[in-house]
Symmetry: C2
Subunit: 440 residues, 2 copies
C-alpha cells in the first residue's frame, strides 16, 4: 500500500519561524518520522512525501530516514507550496494509479486508525476519511479543525466554518485515484484548491465516506501548545495497557509514564532500562538479606521503584518505535530472576531473624509459586483469550507480587509476606491447571 | 478425505480360530481402531469399512467406535468375503466418486506414511502406493508380502511371487475412482480379482505410482508372531523422540518403553502417570531433606525412577492415541514443581550437614537456574528451529538435571551437585539470552 504524505506547508502558527515543522521532534522523534513509522506499522510500505517550504532541509532528512528504516520513500517537490494543500496531492498524481493512504505530516495518530481504515472496502472513485465523532474532544483546536457532517457512513458536508457538524476530519484518508478529477473539478468550478474542496465534490457525488474511530488518540500539531498536548496525549495512551494489573494501573503506570517522558529524550534503549530495573531489584534483594528494619524498608521501596522502572522499557519502546519480540522476552527473563532474588532476599531476612526450617520452606514455596504463575501465564492467557475473548480479566502478576513485598517490608512482616505470596501464587497456579483441564 | 478399509478377510493364519482379527488388541487397542485412528490422525475424516467374516461381531464395534471418536464410519457388507480382496473394493464403488485412501484392517503403520502419501499429486485415473524400499526389513514376512518392482516412481510389476523386486507393497494406497475399472478389467481379462491384479492393469497403463517412505514403521499383522513383532515395533518407534536428551535416550527411554508396554494394557491415563511421577519426586525430595547417606541414595534412585516414569506418560499417550496439548502442559507444570522440590530437598540436606548461608544461596541458584532453563526453552527452541532447521541440537534438560542429582546422591556430594546445576543451568540460560539477542 502506497502512502502519500503532505509536508509542503509552512506551519505558520508555530512561534519559532525558520523551523521546519515536520522535523520538530515530538517525544524524541521528528513529526514526519512519527507519521511515516506509524503508517508503516499499520501496513503502508511505499511512501511519497510532497515537500515545499524549506524542502532543502526536509529532503535530506527524509532520504536518510528511508535508508535507516529500509523503506522506499520518494520526495516530490511542490513549488506552489504557498497555495492550498490540494495542489500537493495533484503533484503526486503520476505516482498513484492504485488506492493509497493520504496523511498529513503534522498529524499524530494511533496507528490503529490506519489499520481500521485499511480494512474498509473501497469502490472505484471513492474516498474514505477517518473521522472523530467525539465533538467535545479536548485535544482539538476548534478554530483550526475541519468539521464534517455525516449521515450513516456518508459525508454530507466538510469545511472549517461548518455550523452543523457531527464529526472532525482527522486528516487520515484512504483514496482511490478518483480524488484527482475531484480536485480538478473543485479548482475549475469553485476556484477551490483545498482537499476539503475536493471532498465537497466527492460528497455531492455520494463518493465520500467516513470511518468513525472514536476514543483513539489523534491530533493536528499546529502550535507550541499543541506540541505539549500531543506529547501528553501520546504518553496518556500508554495508560491503557490491557494486561496491566491493579498496582500497575493505579500506582506504577502513572509514575513510569512521567519517567518515560523524560527517557525518550535520551539515547537510553528499552533493553538498557530493563537491565537497570533488574540491577535495582538485585540491590533491593541485597538490602533485604543484609537484615534490620531500615534495610528492609529501603529494600522494599527500591524494589517498588524497580517495578516502576520496569514499566518504562515497554513505554519507551512504544514511543520510539523500538518494540521487539526479543525486548519483551529479555524483560520477562530478567523479571523472573529479579522476582526470585527479591523473594530469596526476603527469605534470608526472615530466616536470620528466626532460624527455623519452616521459614526456608515458606520462602521456597513463594519462589516456586511466583515462578509457576509466570510459567503458566502463556497457556492460561491464550485459553482465556479464546474462551472469553479480548477482554482482560483480573491479572495476578508481578506488580501485585512486588507491591506485597513492599507492604511486607513497611510493616516488617517478611515471613507473613512470603506466606501470603506462597499461598496466593501456588493457589492461582492450581486454579489455572484446573481451568485449563476443564476447558482444554 | 474418505478412507476405505478392507476388513472382510478371515485372517486364517492366526492360531485361535473364531477370533476376529481386526478386533484383536495390539498394545491395548484393537487393530481396526488403530488403523482408523492412525488414518484420522493423518487427515482422513470419513471412513468406509468393508466387513465380511464375522461381520456380526465387527459391525457393532465399528459403529460404537464411530460414536466414541465422533467420526463418520459406514460399514459395507461383502458376502463374497471368502474371495479375493479386490471384490471388497468394488463393493464400496458407489460411495467413492473422489480420490480416497485405501487401507488394510490388519496393517499397522506410522501415521506419517499416510501424511506423506496425501501430499502426493494425483492425476485422473491414477493410483499411488506407499512402498518400503528396505528389502531387508526384518519385520517383513517374506512368504506373505507383496513385492513391487519400480523404476523411478513408476511401478512396473507387483505380486507375491515376484523374483525381481526392489520394494514392498505396504497396503497403503491413495486411489482415484480409476481403480474400479482396473479391478473389472483384471477380473474380466485375467480372471484375477485381487488388488494386485488391478495394480498390474494400472501398471501396464502407466497409472500406478510408488511413494517410497523408508525407515518408518509398518507391518502386516498376520500371525501371533507378527503381533508380538508389531508390539515391539510400535514400542521401538518411541525411542526416536527428537527432543530427548542424552540421559533420556540411553537410560530412561529403554526402561520407560518397557513399562509403557505394560501400562497400555491397564486403564491408567497419561495424566495419572504424570501425577504418580510427580509424587515419587516429592517423596524423593522428602528423603533428601530427612538427611543421612542412606536416605540420600534412596532419594536419588527414587528421583531417577520418577524421571523414567515421567517418560511413560507421553509414550502411553502416543500408543493409545491419548495425546493432548493439556497433557503435555500438565506434565511440564508438574515437572517444574518436581525439579524445584528435588533441589530444595537437596539444599536442605546439604544445609543440615553444614549450616552455612552460601549453601542456601547455591541451592537457590540451582532452583532458579533449572526454572530459567525451562522458561527460556520455548523461545530458544523456536529460534533454533527457524535458524538451524528441524535438526535436534544437544538439549540440556530435565533428564540431565535429575541424573546429576542421582550422581550427587550416590557420591554423597549434595553441595557439589547443587553448585554444578547452578552454574550449568544459569550459564546455559545466559547463553540462550545472548543467542536470542544476536539472532532475534
Amino acid at each position: 500500500m502506497k502512502c502519500l504524505i503532505l509536508a509542503a506547508g509552512q506551519g505558520s502558527r508555530l512561534q519559532q519561524k525558520g523551523e521546519v515543522k515536520p522535523l520538530i521532534p515530538l517525544l524524541g522523534i521528528p513529526l514526519i518520522e512519527r507519521v511515516i513509522r506509524s503508517a508503516h506499522h499499520a501496513g503502508a510500505d511505499d511512501f511519497l512525501v510532497v515537500t515545499g517550504y524549506q524542502s532543502e532541509k526536509l529532503k535530506p532528512f527524509i532520504t536518510q530516514l528511508g535508508e535507516r528504516l529500509n523503506i522506499p520513500i520518494t520526495c516530490i517537490h511542490n513549488e506552489e507550496w504557498e497555495q492550498e494543500n490540494g495542489l500537493s496531492v495533484l503533484k503526486a498524481r503520476d505516482f498513484l494509479q492504485e488506492p493509497f493512504l493520504l496523511l498529513m505530516a503534522d498529524h499524530v495518530f494511533d496507528p490503529e486508525w490506519v489499520r481500521i481504515l485499511l480494512r474498509h472496502p473501497l469502490k472505484e472513485g471513492e474516498v474514505v476519511l477517518c473521522v472523530d465523532q467525539d465533538i467535545h474532544n479536548p485535544l482539538i483546536d476548534m478554530e483550526d479543525v475541519t468539521r464534517v457532517k455525516m449521515e450513516s457512513d456518508r459525508i454530507q458536508a466538510i469545511g472549517k466554518g461548518l455550523a452543523d457538524y457531527n464529526a472532525f476530519d482527522t486528516g487520515i484518508f484512504l483514496c482511490t485515484p478518483g480524488i484527482f478529477p475531484a480536485l480538478e473539478e473543485s479548482a475549475r468550478k469553485h476556484n477551490d484548491t483545498t482537499l476539503s474542496g475536493a471532498g465537497r465534490v466527492l460528497a455531492a457525488a455520494g463518493r465520500f465516506h467516513a470511518v468513525p474511530v472514536t476514543g483513539r488518540f489523534w491530533m493536528d500539531v499546529d502550535s507550541p501548545a499543541a506540541f505539549k498536548k500531543a506529547a501528553q496525549g501520546l504518553l496518556g495512551q500508554l495508560r491503557n495497557k490491557a494486561t496491566d494489573g491493579p498496582v500497575s494501573r493505579y500506582l506504577n503506570r502513572p509514575l513510569s509514564i512521567r519517567i518515560s517522558g523524560m527517557l525518550v529524550h535520551t539515547p537510553v534503549t528499552p533493553n538498557q532500562i530493563s537491565f537497570v530495573s533488574f540491577l535495582l531489584s538485585l540491590l533491593a534483594a541485597g538490602f533485604f538479606a543484609y537484615g534490620g528494619y531500615l534495610f528492609l524498608v529501603t529494600g522494599g521501596l527500591l524494589a517498588q521503584f524497580a517495578s516502576v522502572i520496569d514499566g518504562c522499557d515497554g513505554e519507551v519502546a512504544r514511543l520510539k518505535f523500538q518494540q521487539s519480540d526479543y525486548g519483551g522476552w529479555f524483560d520477562a527473563v530478567l523479571d523472573r530472576y529479579a522476582d526470585a532474588f527479591l523473594l530469596f532476599g526476603l527469605t534470608w531476612h526472615a530466616y536470620e531473624a528466626q532460624p527455623e526450617g519452616f521459614i526456608l520452606l515458606t520462602g521456597f514455596m513463594a519462589i516456586i509459586g511466583s515462578f509457576m504463575l509466570s510459567y503458566t501465564a502463556d497457556k492460561y492467557d491464550h485459553l482465556m483469550h479464546q474462551k472469553i475473548g479480548t477482554g482482560s480479566p483480573f491479572r495476578l502478576g508481578r506488580d501485585v507480587r512486588v507491591f506485597l513485598i513492599l507492604l511486607g517490608a513497611l510493616f516488617n512482616q517478611a515471613l507473613l509476606t512470603l506466606a501470603v505470596i506462597a499461598v496466593v501464587m501456588n493457589g492461582e497456579t492450581l486454579r489455572r491447571v484446573i481451568i485449563c483441564r476443564d476447558n482444554g
